[in-house]
Symmetry: C2
Subunit: 191 residues, 2 copies
C-alpha cells in the first residue's frame, strides 16, 4: 500500500534496536481516517475469502482490526493478554513468546466468540517474528474454525517471521514490508 509506505517514510522514526516508531498514526495516536483506508485495503485483499470474523490481540491490534472489520462488515474479536497462566472458564488459550520483552504471556478468548463455522482473518499492527500470529492461529484451531489468512499493517521483513509463516502455508498480506532500516535509510520490499 503505497500510501502507507509514504506515511512511514514521512512520520516514522527508527530507534535503536530495530524499533520503528509509528506512534503518530498507528500506535499511541491513530490517524483514524487513514486507518479506515487500511481496513478497506485489507478487505479488498481478502475479498474472496468469506471472512466472518477478524481476530487480533489487545491493545495495539484493536484499531486495525476494527478498521478491517468495518470494511468487511463483520465482528472483530480481541484476545486478551495475561502474564500469568491464571485463566479460568471455557476459554481458548495459548502461550506467546515476546522477544521485545523477553517474556512469555498467555492470550485468551472466550470460546463463545469463535465458532467452528467461522472463517477468521488474523489482523495485527506489526509482524516481526510472527509469534503473535501463530498464537492467534492456535486459538482458531482450538475453536475448530478456519484461519483464512493474516493481514498486517507493517511487516519487518528482515525479521523473517512473515516469510516463515508463508512457507508454512499461511496467506500473509502486509500493507508495507520494511526490508531494511537504519538511522539514515529505510527500504521496502516490492510487492
Amino acid at each position: 500500500m503505497k500510501a502507507l509506505e509514504e506515511k512511514i517514510l514521512r512520520e516514522g522514526t527508527v530507534l535503536p534496536g530495530h524499533i520503528l516508531k509509528v506512534g503518530s498514526f498507528l500506535n499511541q495516536q491513530l490517524d483514524v481516517p487513514f486507518l479506515m483506508e487500511m481496513g478497506q485495503e485489507i478487505a479488498r485483499l481478502f475479498a474472496d475469502c468469506g471472512v466472518t470474523k477478524v481476530l487480533t490481540i489487545e491493545a495495539s491490534g484493536i484499531a486495525v482490526a476494527v478498521a478491517a472489520a468495518a470494511a468487511f462488515g463483520t465482528p472483530a474479536v480481541f484476545a486478551k493478554k495475561h502474564k500469568s497462566g491464571n485463566v479460568s472458564g471455557d476459554v481458548l488459550t495459548t502461550t506467546v513468546h515476546s522477544y521485545t520483552h523477553n517474556t512469555d504471556y498467555e492470550i485468551m478468548v472466550s470460546r463463545e466468540y469463535i465458532s467452528p463455522t467461522d472463517r477468521v482473518l488474523l489482523v495485527d499492527d506489526f509482524l516481526a517474528n510472527g509469534k503473535a500470529l501463530i498464537g492467534l492461529a492456535e486459538l482458531v484451531r482450538q475453536a475448530g474454525a478456519e484461519t483464512v489468512g493474516a493481514a498486517v499493517a507493517i511487516e519487518k521483513g528482515f525479521q523473517k517471521g512473515g516469510d516463515a509463516l508463508r512457507k508454512a502455508g499461511l496467506r500473509v498480506e502486509s500493507l508495507a514490508i520494511v526490508e531494511s532500516m537504519s538511522d539514515t535509510s529505510l527500504t521496502f520490499r516490492a510487492q
Copy 2:
C-alpha cells in the same frame, strides 16, 4: 440511543457485583458495524464542539474511540496504562484509582500527541465512578488543551460518577445509562 439499550437487554448479562457483561458486542467481541453507528451518534451529539481529537484509555476504550474518530474525521489517541510509576520521557501522566481491581495505575500519553490548540473529546466504553475520565481530563489539562466533553457507550447511573462529573461542569453524554440492574431486571434512565 435506543438501539444500544435494546442490544444491552438482548445480549447483556448481569453478573454478581454489579458487573454488566457485554462481551458479545462491546468488549472482547466487537460488533463493529454497530460500533460504527455508536461513533456516528457520538459525532452527532458533539457536532457543534469543534472536536479535533478523541482521547481514550487502552484497551477496551480503543474501539469506541476509533468509531467516534472515524465519524468526526479526526485522530484518536489512547493513553497507556502502567502499574508502576515507571514513566520516562516527555509525557503527560496521572494516577487513576481502579475500584474494580482496587489498585492505582498510571496513565500516560506522549506530550507530542495532544497540542495546546486541541479540542479533545474523552471517550470510553464504560463510565462507573468516573475516575478514568477524570484522569484523561487531567492529561488534557497538562497539555494546555481543552476538554469539550466526554462520550461514553454505557454509563452505570447508579454508581454516580457521571452525575458527579456533570455537576462539576463537564458535558457527559452516555449512549445508554443503566439506572438499576439485578439478576432479573435492568432499567435505563430516560434521556
